[in-house]
Symmetry: C2
Subunit: 315 residues, 2 copies
């Protein structure tokens, strides 16, 4: 992991951040023959994409550092190396602010274009924004399980989580348990957390919720969870751009949009909409038992779709 000092930056919400440090990871060298892959990570991930997106990023995977230069920056608000001085209250960071940090880092690295920009969920939101803000900079865009405007449903899920965080005690555990409901669905729990024995309490699904909550508590902070949850809510590609459709029409990158059929948090209608309004885009649907979490787990299906995309690109 490397560090990039940004110094000061005025957020879209008008708050001035100071002493900003952006943590980032580069896999592979900058050999001229290598295409650049930039990964935008989601809510609780970090810059070490080979750790959390195994099966898609790694020595034996489609995106390996022998063939590609792979870059991922820890997003503004996250607690995996990226930091800034917190004044009185937690600042409101928009997706556009995150992308501004990415762009500054790219400029610092003297990157003139991104060959492949990829992101799922909150990562997809950043990838979309970047492709609107700087269309010429992004050559190919891969979006998975994301949206152009965060839904009222998604905001309601996030608010329930923030209500839990506000309680102070065990807030992040509860927030994670709530989030998990949106990342999975009825079938996921039915197939993986069903009890076979007869009992009156201590059901597997309940134990699992606590387990997942405690697991996140060990590796994440309530402050970052709060800030990134608010960031997700801000996602509106159409803000100050006439309309969402108009913003999407500015994207010139060749685009592949992937949705997951069982995703209840980012239903496929949202990705269909995105794909429909980007000039040069195709839309694919994955089947998964895991709902929204499929964007991290269905790496085999994602790889197949990307391979097909590359074949078409080279033919």
């Amino acid at each position: 992991m490397r560090n990039f000092k940004v110094g000061n930056f005025k957020l879209e919400s008008a708050t001035e951040l100071s002493k900003i440090n952006i943590a980032y990871t580069i896999y592979g060298d900058f050999a001229p023959s290598k295409k650049i892959v930039w990964v935008c990570h989601a809510l609780t991930a970090n810059s070490e994409v080979e750790d959390w997106w195994k099966g898609l990023f790694g020595k034996n995977d489609l995106f390996n550092s022998d063939k590609f230069t792979i870059i991922c920056a820890n997003i503004l608000g996250s607690c995996y190396g990226t930091s800034f001085e917190i004044e009185e209250k937690l600042p409101l960071i928009s997706i556009r602010d995150m992308v501004e940090m990415h762009q500054r880092l790219a400029d610092f690295l003297e990157i003139s274009k991104i060959d492949y920009l990829i992101g799922g969920s909150l990562g997809g939101m950043q990838a979309l924004e970047w492709s609107v803000i700087n269309p010429d900079f992004v050559k190919n865009l891969f979006l998975i399980a994301t949206n152009a405007k965060h839904s009222a449903w998604g905001i309601a899920f996030n608010e329930a989580q923030r209500m839990a965080l506000k309680s102070g005690k065990n807030g992040i555990e509860t927030a994670r348990a709530i989030a998990l409901l949106s990342y999975r669905n009825y079938e996921t729990f039915e197939k993986t957390q069903e009890d076979s024995e007869e009992k009156l309490e201590n059901f597997r699904a309940a134990t699992y919720q606590n387990y997942q909550g405690e697991k996140l508590k060990k590796r994440f902070t309530s402050e970052s969870y709060w800030m990134l949850s608010k960031s997700m809510d801000t996602q509106n590609l159409g803000r100050n751009r006439i309309s969402i459709e108009n913003a999407l029409s500015k994207i010139t990158a060749k685009t592949l949009v992937i949705g997951i059929e069982s995703d209840i948090l980012f239903p496929i209608s949202e990705q269909q909409f995105i794909s429909k309004h980007i000039q040069n885009s195709q839309f694919k649907v994955l089947k998964s038992l895991y709902g929204h979490d499929g964007f991290l787990l269905e790496t085999k299906q994602i790889t197949e779709n990307l391979k097909k995309y590359f074949e078409e690109l080279n033919s």
Copy 2:
């Protein structure tokens, strides 16, 4: 509202409850010509069914006290008049325990049969149990948006709510906000809580979640919410009865099972399953924007289905 003193009762979980009082409401007299309608209420409702199930119960509604004797008892664990002495910790009350209280009240009222037993959600769970425990007692059974065994998904939702309650501060508000996500769905929030103006925070969906939380806090207790949430988890019609299918086959009541297409908490597959295994049952599906909450709101569609049922019964 009237009171029925039960005294002591040993719960299925083996805890002995003492000083039990069951609050109940009767609409209409016991004229011999009148058919008896018994209503089992859901999580945060009470015995005053004309207050919370308007459009189905009331002077100008299908179930009116001129034609029917309507009875509803506040369930064991609820805080609307029903009470008992709480010792060290909150007792674990099963759906079967609730039904045992209903039966004792029915015996006290010298009711020899229930002509129409109706319940939605947690109320449907009780109605189902009662029809298995005492099949001859229930002549017609109306079940809406309920299940024979609570799902791993439902338990996971309830556990997230209990994690919120455990935090102590503002627990019940958060629990309600979580529950609301399961009572509605993506479309409900999209159609009713979407923001038209461009902003970075204070979205309608977030405000709505807090509003609903505060509203429940004013009228419900954390202790009752905890107990009833645990009760819901216990629902397993097959417990000590070989199988769920075997239990359902014991029901002799003529049955109408209603599901709501957009219900994500009690998906219609659960009601289809119930109907399939009851000897004399039919299954209907309602369309609703409101998901699970449709059982309270779609009284017009429920009335139409019941009217049709009555016509067939009398033809």
